[in-house]
């Protein structure tokens, strides 16, 4: 059986490689556009997937309300930017304040959701917490729909078209460039936070062994809250960036983005932070190529097919540890 798999894999890779090389040679600019578009897409997925994977790493919960936190970030930025735009403030000030408000609001929501919906279920079976997460997701969607509007709202980009970037703008726009750069900065900061700071150590310790961490004097509840807050902050940044890119938002954008980011986190190995970034990039780039070279209508079908394929062949993801664990 094994050699059949290997042969099939080689044939598939060979055909794909041959075809791919021909396409790249015939139109290299288009290829580059798709690649960069994919990286942009992947960056956004990564900003959301981080929250999923960090929360899963620490309390083994798939936080389905996470996509909604991202949507709330985008909504807050829109409201703040519109109000300040009316006051006629400088656009750079508006952009910064909108992002700050979006982060603060999303963090507040992330923190509250954890306290209301997950903390009381800390020792309950995992399924209960999962249902609670889905409930929270539906609640937040409908709450925003009622409090704001069910319509799509136009989102004026907070990022200007950079003049110096003009010659390359046909390959990758200023907004896309900003998305990639901001994502890289956020990743680096997050890496430092987890690897070197006291709270990062406490997070890693709590993820490994909650009882032992508590016995060493770590306030586990506080660490879990911090994890939610950090994940919400990155999701808010993602929300603002994608809103700038797409140009319109409504209460429902968090649902699909959240699911895609979830696929990315599973693809990379849920619970692993580098895995979430890698999985997001792989998903973003392959989606971009798929829509660019094949059928753009089947973008979501493709993404979910990937999820099914990973779950069958490599359930622990690309960087996930192999462990036989009952879920």
């Amino acid at each position: 059986m094994r050699w059949i798999n290997i042969t099939l894999g080689l044939i598939f890779t060979g055909v794909l490689g041959f075809w791919g090389t021909r396409e790249v040679i015939s139109d290299p600019v288009y290829f580059l556009e798709l690649l960069l578009g994919g990286i942009t897409r992947g960056s956004i997925y990564a900003l959301i997937a981080l929250g999923y994977t960090m929360v899963y790493g620490i309390i083994q919960l798939i936080n389905f309300a996470h996509g909604e936190i991202y949507m709330i970030g985008a909504m807050t930025a829109l409201i703040v930017a519109s109000v300040m735009g009316l006051w006629g403030w400088n656009s750079a000030v508006i952009a910064i304040l909108a992002v700050v408000f979006a982060i603060v609001y999303s963090c507040a929501y992330g923190f509250t959701v954890e306290k209301i919906a997950y903390k009381p279920l800390r020792n309950a079976p995992r399924l209960s917490a999962l249902i609670s997460a889905i409930g929270m997701s539906l609640f937040l969607q409908n709450y925003v729909m009622l409090a704001q509007t069910p319509e799509f709202l136009p989102f004026k980009s907070l990022i200007p078209d950079f003049l110096f970037w003009e010659p390359y703008a046909h390959i990758i726009t200023s907004v896309e460039l900003s998305i990639i750069i901001v994502t890289i900065i956020v990743m680096i900061l997050l890496g430092i936070l987890i690897k070197f700071t006291t709270i990062g150590k406490a997070m890693r310790a709590t993820a490994q062994d909650k009882v032992m961490a508590a016995l060493l004097g770590i306030n586990v509840n506080q660490v879990i809250s911090t994890t939610f807050v950090v994940g919400s902050a990155t999701a808010a940044i993602g929300g603002v960036l994608i809103a700038c890119h797409v140009g319109q938002i409504n209460f429902f954008i968090g649902f699909l983005a959240g699911l895609k980011a979830f696929i990315a986190a599973v693809l990379g190995g849920i619970g692993s932070v580098p895995g979430a970034v890698l999985g997001s990039l792989v998903l973003g780039i392959s989606e971009s190529f798929f829509t660019g070279y094949f059928w753009s209508e089947y973008e979501d079908v493709f993404a979910f097919s990937i999820l099914v394929i990973i779950l069958i062949f490599r359930p622990s993801g690309i960087l996930g540890k192999h462990e036989t664990q009952k879920v």
Binding site: L193, T197, T198, I199, G200, K201, A202, R204, A205, Q208, D209, V211, M212, A213, A214, L215, L216, G217, I218, N219, V220, Q222, T226, V229, V230
Partner: protein
């Protein structure tokens, strides 16, 4: 002088099982005490009740840290108990495997630090100093325990005996006045056990610590302990110095009376 740990009428009931039944134990400052008993006697449950992992059904746990006034541990969470100055290790090794030796000890310093998420994000001056001090203190502890050559090694790559000692080092990092060791010599060879023996005595004499240990290695218990408490089926059946306990008929019965149990 007040005993530093005073456990009164501690009872822990799981469903229909009385895991602990009216246990009274006191520990004096500077004492090495041992808690022994056949398997399943309730020793680890006793530790769990004191350190806040279980909430005892009834009973009081009072501590009197040296130079401070007495206080009850009732209803405190494990991290709060640790902050009061009790530190413990487990029967099985529970190190943070994917972290370095130094990081493991630094986690223990965590509860003595103040900085939170904002300090971490904005990297304030106070935070930097505090972190530097934590590294310095942790290294000092590793030196005392004799693990400084492993400082940047991953915890999982250490030899078994060193992992056991690292657990003690990590517990020391929380700055305790009472150290609770759950089978510290489990799985050790005679040479490692001897070194552990020396380490525990050294800790009492130089670090001003009191120690309560659960142990099955009777040679270690008898040579080390100032006082031994014996439990069986959740009940305390004897206490005293090693000589008294060795000759106590109740203890002999608990250990040898039933052939199906081994000590």
């Amino acid at each position: 002088m007040e005993p530093i740990l005073n456990v009164e009428n501690l009872t822990m009931i799981f469903g229909g099982l009385k895991a602990l039944n009216n246990v009274n134990i006191t520990i004096e400052q500077g004492q090495i005490a041992a808690l022994i008993g056949p398997n399943g006697a309730g020793k680890t449950t006793f530790f769990n009740c004191i350190t806040g992992i279980y909430e005892p059904t009834t009973g009081d746990v009072t501590i009197t840290p040296p130079g401070k006034s007495s206080q009850s541990l009732k209803g405190l969470k494990p991290n709060q108990v640790t902050q009061k100055g009790l530190a413990r290790t487990f029967q099985n090794i529970r190190l943070f495997q994917g972290m370095t030796v130094l990081e493991n000890v630094m986690i223990g310093r965590h509860c003595r630090m103040k900085a939170g998420i904002f300090g971490a994000l904005f990297h304030t001056h106070a935070q930097k100093n505090e972190e530097k001090k934590a590294i310095y203190d942790s290294y000092e502890i590793l030196e005392k325990i004799g693990l400084e050559q492993y400082v940047n090694e991953m915890a999982k790559n250490l030899p078994y005996g060193a992992q056991r000692r690292l657990e003690i080092a990590r517990a020391l990092a929380t700055d305790p006045f009472l150290l609770l060791l759950d089978e510290p010599a489990a799985g050790m060879n005679p040479q490692e056990t001897k070194e552990l023996d020396d380490l525990i005595i050294w800790l009492r004499d130089n670090e001003n610590l009191s120690i309560l240990l659960i142990e099955h290695d009777m040679k270690l218990v008898m040579s080390l302990s100032d006082k031994i408490h014996v439990v069986d089926y959740g009940k305390k059946i004897a206490q005293g110095n090693p000589e008294e306990v060795k000759s106590n008929p109740e203890v002999i019965k608990a250990y040898l009376g039933d052939e199906s149990e081994d000590a």
